[in-house]
Symmetry: C2
Subunit: 385 residues, 2 copies
């Protein structure tokens, strides 16, 4: 009887551990930020595994150990304790040692182990009898520790330790996933910012034009209820669509008079040049293609290839509307700006012929109903509704 | 007795599943490429869980199902079968359905289930009696399927299925990790390529100069036995260190005569301009700082800040040596190139004073012993050893 009972409780315990692993796996697939990752892991462990208190700490550069998430009976425990990973006595407990050594630290008897002295009083007050600190690490790089407390003795045997080591590995995976997604986003944003600074040195008109085109394109995409991801791509395409103008000499770009045929052909080259530049970057969106096609027109009268209708991707169909409205209403060295009413009338005339009908309607609504305004100094804000 | 036995085998089986999960977690933390991920997962499952055959397939855009890894008794099974995820009969088996529906598909009886008919003969020949196909997915995005075969009946109960669903989730995590690391690398490389194209439009001398400086800097860093990661950062810094010259007017950059004081101060600005551009990109290396400091000198005689010795990061200390050697030995509109011997003598005179002693020695050795050569057309290859 005893044997069966022991087995039963053993099975139950293993089942609990397995349930936690399942819950963690589901969590890892969906989680997007670290705070949430840490907190949900604490919740899962307290809920499924009968721990009285669980917390996650990150290693600070200044030898600090910073609690970042917790669950269970805490009662200000973390406020009342001091943990470090330096050479002081505050680093001699399980957490400090786990972070220093990279190995799990089991405290089987909080009451009597001298190493736990600095935290003993506060721990016993709250009924913590045993604890373990498992390092959260990526190879030899220690990120922090997972700290688990129990009110029972002999909980942290080899099986439990193995399980908690898995949990720590899961936390590492989650952290890697979140940080690399964030890093990617930062790199993309930083790149766009860097390229836009480069561009600005050469050509302030184009730089501001791109910001405004992006802003208006995004509003059109939203009005057309395009998916968030497509809209994100349109934003980036807007910000970069004229990058090819960097290959056009300033003397042509800023020529006060009318361009001759040769000069105009150099300007028109910018769509293809932009494509050549941007195709190297492995964006998740068709940024290079939208750039290539933003001077095409639905009826085939555009450039560089004179493609028609659906051959032009939706991103470019939206971009071209925002592009012409922004360009017409802003100042250029060779002409004054059109007022907005005139510009909207212009695209309205060509809707369905040169421009996507819905995109034009959306654009007009954005200005007339939503009072959209461009941001920049080269614009006349002379719209009268 | 029967009950205990049943429990015992149940415990063993769960232990096996747990061992597999542990092995998978360790794998996920270290794996760097997909092929390896898939193959090792197949190995773990066959080794720990008594399956006769395990394979992983990826969903192809053309409705194909492509086997990418396998382990166990296969005996050309995959060569002899055809699986799709379209509307044909080849999509009616467990794998096709798993990919189409996103739900696990259990085939409890390969011998008698009519849906397995297209693959039955080949499966029975090899002793496969039951099978399951679990979709590998990220949210609603189906990536492929994990396919598992057993020679026993009733193996794929709820517990086993739950376990294999975890394994599939682990595969997804691994794929995400690998693909996002790869994506990050691609984006960084693509960005550098894009920026270098932009740069080339304006200033072909500088563009080629950067490539050569990067190449020589990397060799110096290797000779100094710097860590691989530092060397990678030096490469990128070399490729971008003169990006700030994009802010210098071509008329000054390519002026055939000597620059006046004002013009020279504009040229000197390029270090700070480069820093301003590059600091936006969240590289893992001090690319912006190396760019800022590449015209500083050990004795404080450099620019923009006149900092000294260890205030200059090692990346910049290496970069500056490569930079001056490359510059001196290459053609400029305002002067012919120096020959290499003279250039190396020049840096040798200033070693320990302006330049890092070891970097200079390494540089000289690279040319004299390793026969290093610059790549470009503006170089005289007139080195006589």
């Amino acid at each position: 009887m005893n044997y069966i009972l022991k087995n039963k409780s053993h099975i139950e315990r293993i089942e609990n551990l397995k349930d936690s692993i399942s819950a963690l796996n589901r969590l890892l697939l969906r989680v997007k930020d670290e705070e949430r990752l840490f907190n949900e892991i604490c919740n899962i462990l307290v809920k499924n595994n009968n721990y009285i208190f669980v917390w996650v700490s990150l290693k600070g550069e200044d030898y600090s150990v910073k609690p970042v998430a917790q669950c269970g009976f805490e009662s200000s425990y973390l406020k009342n304790i001091k943990i470090k990973w330096d050479n002081s006595k505050y680093a001699d407990g399980p957490t400090g040692k786990a972070i220093k050594t990279g190995e799990p630290q089991v405290m089987q008897d909080i009451k009597n182990n001298p190493e736990f002295r600095p935290w003993r009083k506060e721990a016993l007050k709250r009924g913590y009898r045993t604890s373990v600190a498992v390092p959260i690490k990526h190879g030899s790089n220690i990120i922090g520790a997972l700290n688990v407390y129990s009110q029972y003795k002999n909980v942290f045997d080899d099986k439990e330790l193995k399980f908690l080591t898995e949990v720590a590995a899961d936390i590492t995976l989650g952290v890697i996933k979140i940080r690399s997604e964030k890093k990617l986003k930062n790199i993309i944003n930083g790149t766009i910012k860097a390229v836009s600074i480069i561009h600005k040195y050469r050509d302030p008109f184009t730089s501001e034009h791109q910001n405004n085109t992006a802003k208006l394109s995004v509003e059109i995409a939203k009005k057309l209820a395009l998916p968030k991801n497509t809209t994100d791509g349109i934003n980036i395409s807007g910000l970069l669509h004229d990058i090819g103008k960097i290959a056009v000499p300033s003397s042509i770009l800023n020529k006060p008079g009318k361009l001759n045929e040769h000069e105009y052909s150099i300007v028109k080259d910018h769509a293809l040049r932009g494509f050549e530049i941007l195709k190297n970057i492995d964006f998740s969106w068709p940024v290079a293609k939208a750039t290539l096609q933003h001077h095409e027109r639905l009826d085939g009268s555009g450039y560089p290839y004179g493609i028609k209708g659906d051959e032009i991707i939706i991103e470019a169909q939206i971009l071209m509307v925002a592009d012409v409205v922004e360009a017409m209403t802003s100042y250029r060295p060779y002409r004054p700006p059109l007022n907005l009413e005139t510009a909207l009338r212009e695209i309205s005339i060509d809707k369905g012929k040169l421009f996507n009908r819905e995109a034009v309607d959306a654009c007009i609504e954005i200005f007339k109903k939503d009072n959209f305004e461009f941001d920049n100094s080269f614009h006349l804000n002379d719209w009268i509704s």
